[in-house]
Symmetry: C2
Subunit: 229 residues, 2 copies
């Protein structure tokens, strides 16, 4: 009901007038999901898309034997599930709440109307999709051209950069989730963190806290110039 107070804070709706915000608010529906609750499944009919208000959502692919590959993890203000709105057909992946999560849902038809009348909303949405394409390109590159130590280094550096190059990091997801995000399994993550510690690239407390000791070393790993023993 109080969607109107969230709308203006969502990057997708930046640059719109208050009237437009009100209009957007009038077409949305709020929903709440518990931890591990399915939001949609691959192949479902996509009748609209979502924006996270609070909490976190993972979007992922599943193999027949149950292995998962996370495509991305979304937090407050980020949209997901837009593909079927514009390309028709169905959701290309699954979405699930990682924790108690509030989202707002935009029904397809009314959103399509809105976007047609609103060039800057269209431009914002084009920017969102373009950035996602850029991220997917990076993921494809990682999966195909880098080994796991390189992917893990890149992830640690990414976390560090998010915090102004802070060297003390706290993983915000479990090792299992991290493995799924990097296209590997928890055992491999564990072994590589051990090797990174042995080479004094990082220091780990065995939990979710990691300190970066040798940033240039990690950068070399991420770019493939260097290998772990």
């Amino acid at each position: 009901m109080d969607a109107i107070k969230h709308i203006p804070t969502i990057p997708l709706f930046q640059g719109l007038t208050p009237e437009h915000h009100a209009h957007v608010a009038s077409i949305v529906v709020e929903k709440v999901y518990r931890r591990n609750q399915v939001i949609f499944s691959e192949g479902d009919e996509g009748n609209g898309f979502y924006v996270v208000i609070s909490g976190r959502v993972k979007v992922f692919k599943l193999s027949p034997d149950g292995k998962e590959q996370i495509l991305h993890i979304l937090g407050a203000g980020e949209p997901f599930g837009e593909v079927p709105v514009f390309a028709g057909e169905r959701f290309p992946a699954h979405a699930e709440a990682l924790e108690e999560t509030r989202v707002i849902f935009f029904p397809r038809a009314s959103f399509a109307d809105l976007i047609k009348k609103n060039p800057s909303l269209a431009m914002n949405m084009l920017a969102v999709l373009s950035r996602r394409l850029r991220r997917f390109s990076a993921l494809i590159e990682d999966l195909s051209l880098k080994e796991v130590p390189g992917r893990l280094s890149a992830y640690l550096l990414y976390l560090s950069d998010k915090k102004n190059r802070e060297t003390s990091l706290t993983l915000d997801i479990s090792k299992a989730q991290l493995a799924s995000l990097l296209g590997t399994i928890p055992e491999t993550i564990s072994r590589i963190l051990t090797r990174m510690s042995a080479e004094e690239l990082i220091e780990s407390d065995g939990h979710r806290n990691i300190k970066i000791l040798d940033r240039p070393g990690l950068e070399e790993l991420a770019s493939g110039e260097r290998k772990l023993l």
Copy 2:
């Protein structure tokens, strides 16, 4: 110069009026590239995007040691290089002509103007990007969750479906390109085709002609239910 006659045939511009087509034509520049010529490189400033008129283009990532992963191969009517137009920054990948190729180039600023005034062009572009996201999701899934025989089966089935489920196929790219598209190397492709032939899933003339003998068998491979010996 004769771009005007191509514009109306490009899917991106479907549903626009002839005046709009003329306007589009007035802002484009035609370019021709030879086989293997670089169109842009990753990290280049993206001042506009391209649409293929004739010929074919590959868009790909390169690892420091020279291994390449093809993101997609584009033919007539297909746009590429749009990401920097909407997300800013630079091209996230390289593009190169696979053969003599004619393209039209859309300068960023004038295209952005056009799209703001033209909701159905915006919707078409959103559809293009959404379909690309769908394809990238499938590629990520392949790389992360399928083994090479599964990816190759999926590719053969895709080729077959493009021709109304015709069983006689001709590869339109070299084994090296195919390997790069599937995230592997030519030797591996060769070995797997041999094994597929041994199990009478396909018949290969050793060149680029392949006949599908056991479509259900390939489908099982593609979905991971079945393994090659």
